[in-house]
Symmetry: C2
Subunit: 386 residues, 2 copies
Amino acid sequence: MRVLILGMDGYLGWPLALRLLARGHEVAGIDNLYTRKAVEEVGSASALPIPSPEERVHAVRDIMGKDLDFIIGDITKYSVLNKAIRKFKPDTVVHFAEQRSAPYSMIDVKHANFTMRNNLSGTLNLIYAVKKANPKVHVVKMGTMGEYGTPNFDIPESAFVDAQIGGKSDRIVVPKWAGSWYHWSKVHDTNNLLFANKVWGITTTDIMQGPVYGTRTKEITDDRLFTRFDFDGVWGTVFNRYCVESVLGMPLTQYGKGGQTRAFLSLEDSMESLRLLIENRPNDGEYRVVNQFTEVYSVRELALIAKEVASKNGMSVEIGEVDNPRVEANEHYYKPVHDILPALGLKSPTRNIRDEMGVILKDLQKHKSRLAEYKDAIMPEVRWKD
Amino acid sequence: MRVLILGMDGYLGWPLALRLLARGHEVAGIDNLYTRKAVEEVGSASALPIPSPEERVHAVRDIMGKDLDFIIGDITKYSVLNKAIRKFKPDTVVHFAEQRSAPYSMIDVKHANFTMRNNLSGTLNLIYAVKKANPKVHVVKMGTMGEYGTPNFDIPESAFVDAQIGGKSDRIVVPKWAGSWYHWSKVHDTNNLLFANKVWGITTTDIMQGPVYGTRTKEITDDRLFTRFDFDGVWGTVFNRYCVESVLGMPLTQYGKGGQTRAFLSLEDSMESLRLLIENRPNDGEYRVVNQFTEVYSVRELALIAKEVASKNGMSVEIGEVDNPRVEANEHYYKPVHDILPALGLKSPTRNIRDEMGVILKDLQKHKSRLAEYKDAIMPEVRWKD
């Protein structure tokens, strides 16, 4: 299969390229390297140093014996994306090329605008490029479980759901409530893709993924193949941040009381899920929505797990309680449906979060002085209410 | 009261400025004159010739004896909007500065991107400018009944609605289903404003308006005060287009069987509704959603009315059936709630559509040769499925 990955330089884009190459697929990717710059912008860096695009391609050649086409380009320029699709002729396009940080989107009006413009125009360009080149191309778009917020109903794996409103029945788009401009940009993209599906029949898998943790996948066996790993207050996700804090002996930055419940998965399980969805495409013209996660934890439970594993690894950490910078419910119902990936064969979770944290800590310890250098970037400084 | 109108040069912006001035309010407006250029771009023009911004300000001075501040500027540049708000210190900002044509947004990827970028960034800039300058400013945003599509439930006048989903109860954002990139951009803006209201308490009136028809309001008593009047396949709305077709003796371009039902109102009633909403602001921090219309017709009923009135005015027209260029339901349930405006005192409709059409025809007949010049732009050429 021929797979084009938009945003191939990112935390998920890179290991997905490796996974697909290992499976024998032909892979090309586009990235404008924006995340590298934007993480620098907030005074931080990837915990694990990552090679340049050229070095990445060489490493793949040396270690895996595979060829990888890495295009430096910005898909918000239609011509860039259109040219890549016409040249590479993908069967599947995986769309990761979105600004992916909620706090980054909330910094100020400039960052809010950037997030909306970047994310929406990338997706619109993808819709039109696929529609023109070959409407049978399978579009795999990374959304987020955060599009739903924390509803009182069970979160289905479908674009539409039956509802009763004021005594009448209707089939409605699954209700969303997002908690940042970033999350809203993803909701808007979901709506835009859904509209494109209805008008032009574009075959889509819309993945609603929970926060991912981890440094390793089956293919990341060499430091030259590492993917980026963010841990700062803007770009880091909660469990990865806890891991860095454990290594640095800092209190774990739990936001508020930690009752916020989310659906998580390891990097390895994220890759396995993506592989399954790419290799098992939906019917032509179908809009498939998948909730991609393996475990549900509250942020507090995660902190307790992190504290326990850190302690077993000889690191003593406390759970700190940081004023929650976000506007979100502290205690709530949370039940996402999770049928599609297990039906495709995902044994979930394939990795135990405690074991996985041991692996992460080992990887991070080798870069402890690097982490210490960016320590100041860990506390959340972007506050929603400001 | 001090009212700042974004998009003051437009079909609604201009008569609203006149209405508010007549009511004794202080009015300033911003416009980048984009609609003038974009209508030219599709080979058309306003049926009624409209003066330049300078001439408009002079006409207001001469005829009404009022001062009007008309700023030529683009609110997608944050500094332009921020400066205007800090300088003018409005109590209310009315936001009409959006690309407002569904077919225009569907022309191609460039127009899709422009519509999203222009509309979303204007609204984001407004949110941030108000939040910084004075969060008590009342934001009045023009949305469209088209955000809802044609649901099976009664369309409420609220941002949220109680729903049962899979046996569970929740309060959800009122479901939307839009039929073009333009309509989706309005849905996205509604969601963005709603989020801004929840986080920063911005006081908002979100108006869901039906298509407007008419050339006159109480203040438009002189040709120098005319507002623009679009009738082409891209910029014209259905009843205004039927009026021009009647004058030209062309068959009325009814899209498909004409079963599409929508909520309409006259230009005068639109102005009266806006005045009532501006003079009766919601509570501080409230998000008020208003369905703004006075009558509900199918597109077929409108064609029959137009044919009847045209005939009484000595114009013989046939109802033509044009392939519907859009993707929309042809026959459907349609029941929007309409309580808020009548409770504020709107006697609806204040104008009878048949009488109003007589007035429109009279205004248009004076410009018959001008209309004939742009005749070729009337047939719909932008097809959703293309």
